[in-house]
Subunit: 473 residues, 2 copies
């Protein structure tokens, strides 16, 4: 191993092969569920160095765990405990290589921080719409590897839909340059989308050409109290109809989730908190290519129709950017408020919007019947059919004991219900090492067998992030 | 072989195994470039029958050529001349299985005619935006197999972007049901996008869940004369900025292409035909979720800014639906007018929009230098960077002789230029059997090697549409 590590030092420089000291930042996952042990943390500076490192690893049969900002929620970039795996940190590949304004695209390296890409786009008067809670530290390579979602998917799609092309280092250490930036290109199999969402198990994404959009002239936010989940779904349909592609955000939040925000962040004023006939609130965002006045007029038109229909009981349109930020801040504070309340069991599920009301009614009742006093923190991106359907310990219970004793059972009940309603057990967080067994249980055996065939075909040595997505062969 | 054919007859019924009579409708490609010879044309009625046929073919090592409406332009669904291949016609799988209004999706079988799907959506007050010249006879299975493009890609994307999930019969005759209709689902590798665009070489798409959209409240069409291709690209940027997602069409047409329409379809009045300072015209479409008045106001605002900028010399906004249809009809008549003028050499290329002006200037000059009197019919979906850059024989030449003598040379010059400008030799028509050699030449060897590995992994017997996309192994 000494010779191997020396070889890596020659490739990336001795300063960028970390073996001593506190490597916890790379060896532990974001939610601190798993503590691994790496042979070394290797930090290449460019694609050529990544390719050389992968070649060296292939020769030495050393497994690689690619890592970006290490903010993943499914333990997809944490080394195992064996001390034999390399963490390949991509954070030094952080250049914006090229901005092409007429093509509405830019080519960026895997280690670029998402927020810095949003800012780069903004400096050029353009919009890079990918937006999610970890944007201050997650990298675009990680977003691509996990096909991250976030808050603007209803209009702009997941990371997949924002990508025009990739540069990838294969498990053999070859470089595939797929960075043409074309919007149409039917020349063979779609390798781009195969790598997106493969969580580093088929190759290492080193750069990408991503779509940019004109900045909207105005962005307005509204908050509506709705009488039921059915009403929220109906409001979604009306918003699609009347705002068209202006609808850039549609989030639903249960009143219990909001009550935790009110309790733990008393400085935030949660609208319609006392409205007892409104079990849910909805946050809507309208982006307009014309003007703020026009955006407001369209919003008011939609909300009038929604009042008439009865799917909205009360609503407020933010009067200022500050107020809009506060509304979004409430929505984004739910996970933190949950954490303040105590440990909880998280799910990242998706179901066709049409079936969400029945799913929630069924699963709420099931859990309340099975586990006395259980509290449901239900919120998420209803516009994409994506719920963070989380389960909090009973108010008088011990959260730690609850997690220890109930997590497996709760997961089983929730995922069985998701499957019965034709949904997915992982909407936007990926599989990682955390949900490999769930994939075995809930993914179609025919699909699994094709996935294994592809993994073996592209990575026959099995050195790319083994044990992530698919169980070790 | 008799026993094998009897087996097929047992599966699909004797009436649906065609071996005698005129099979030209299945054995010849749309553009009549290739005449194949099939062992039989097999017409299953449902997915179970498709699976049984594939199983029988796998056992007997008989190759399958899946076929929809047989309107492909790259010879991707024509049997070879050996008389040993089965044409698997999917046209009897033509049910709309389910419309889910709240999820804005429908699940349709592979053999559904595209136009009938547009009409089904319309009947439910919704829009299925895929639209292309062959829509009256092409099938959605073929659209998915080739990842078809068309005229609304600038807003809604290619067929790929419109698809939420697939049902596929694998080369082993297993059925993969991926029809959940979810907008977010990160549970393993993206098999959906691997099958889309794989032209029947990895499996057979039997059904799909496709996105639907609200119908726009109004759709307006404008026609603008522009002083250069640079100006057309600038206008595209302004249209993105000021129409936002309202921009649903952006087509460019060279004056020579339009002059052929004027010559061969004199009943059509081509606007700005005599405008000598305008080498190109642009057709724009604006879809508005509000009203026709609003759409018109936005169009006029955009065109005013474009006049001031100088990127538009003259423009007309259609006053009626009939006038809008006539403008689109002019655009869509270019291929027919070309055919009237005589045989020609067609290319379906894409290049980043920013590089299109330089590409066109370079390649126009090159061809005119190399082949005296050559005439360039340049038009296409500029909003997607997709040009149909076609080459017509000199006015006084013999088109047949021109094709015979010059096609290979012209293709070489054009495709080399496309490669030099970072483009694709097949934007929306696919590879088929026609462009397998082009794929070998212009696709990256690293990518090719991954494609071959995937083909071998999923179809180890090599029975799925052999010789299409990839050369025979």
């Amino acid at each position: 191993m000494t010779a191997f590590l020396d070889q890596l030092r020659q490739i990336v420089g001795a300063a960028h092969v970390l073996t001593d000291g506190d490597l916890a930042a790379w060896e532990q996952d974001w939610r601190k569920r798993v503590q691994g042990k790496a042979l070394a943390v290797v930090r290449p500076a460019d694609t050529a160095q990544v390719a050389a490192v992968v070649k060296a690893c292939a020769e030495a049969r050393v497994a690689l765990v690619p890592q970006g900002g290490n903010t993943g929620l499914s333990v997809g970039s944490t080394p195992d405990g064996s001390g034999t795996q390399i963490v390949l940190s991509l954070t030094r590949l952080n250049r914006v290589r090229h901005i092409d304004r007429d093509n509405l695209s830019f080519t960026v390296e895997a280690g670029c921080i998402l927020q810095s890409l949003q800012e780069t786009a903004e400096k050029h008067g353009l919009l890079f719409p990918l937006s999610l809670a970890a944007e201050g530290s997650c990298t675009i390579g990680g977003n691509l590897g996990t096909n991250a979602g976030g808050t603007q998917v209803v209009r702009y799609g997941n990371t997949r839909e924002l990508c025009l092309g990739l540069e990838v280092v294969t498990p053999q250490g070859e470089v595939w340059d797929g960075l043409k930036g074309l919007r149409k290109d039917n020349t063979g199999y779609d390798l781009r989308d195969l790598f997106i969402g493969s969580e580093g198990t088929l190759g290492i994404i080193t750069a990408a050409t991503m779509k940019l959009f004109p900045q909207p002239a105005a962005q307005l936010t509204a908050w509506a109290a709705v009488p039921s989940m059915e009403a929220a779904v109906r409001l979604l349909g009306m918003a699609h109809q009347h705002l068209g592609a202006g609808l850039t955000g549609f989030e639903v939040m249960g009143q219990f989730a909001l009550s935790l925000v009110a309790k733990h962040m008393p400085q935030l004023r949660v609208p319609f908190a006392d409205q007892e006939d409104a079990p849910y609130c909805v946050l809507l965002e309208n982006s307009d290519s014309e003007s703020e006045a026009h955006a407001r007029e369209r919003f008011e038109h939609l909300l009038e129709l929604a009042f008439e229909d009865g799917c909205v009981l009360d609503a407020v349109v933010a009067e200022s950017l500050a107020q809009a930020h506060e509304l979004w801040h409430i929505r984004e504070s739910i996970p933190l408020a949950q954490a303040e309340e105590g440990l909880n069991i998280k799910h990242d599920i998706s179901i066709a919007a049409s079936r969400i009301p029945a799913f929630v009614a069924h699963t709420d009742a099931l859990l309340q019947r099975e586990i006395a006093g259980v509290r449901l923190v239900n919120f998420g991106h209803l516009g994409d059919g994506n719920l963070h359907y989380n389960v909090q310990a009973p108010a008088d219970g011990d959260p730690k004991a609850f997690l220890r004793e109930q997590e497996e059972r709760v997961n089983h009940l929730v995922y069985e219900a998701v499957a019965a309603f034709g949904g997915s057990f992982s909407a936007e967080h990926g599989v990682g090492a955390l949900k490999v067994d769930k994939l075995e249980t809930y993914q179609s055996p025919v699909a699994l067998s094709m996935m294994r065939a592809i993994k073996n075909a592209l990575d026959p040595l099995g050195i790319m992030n083994p044990g992530v997505v698919l169980a070790r062969g």
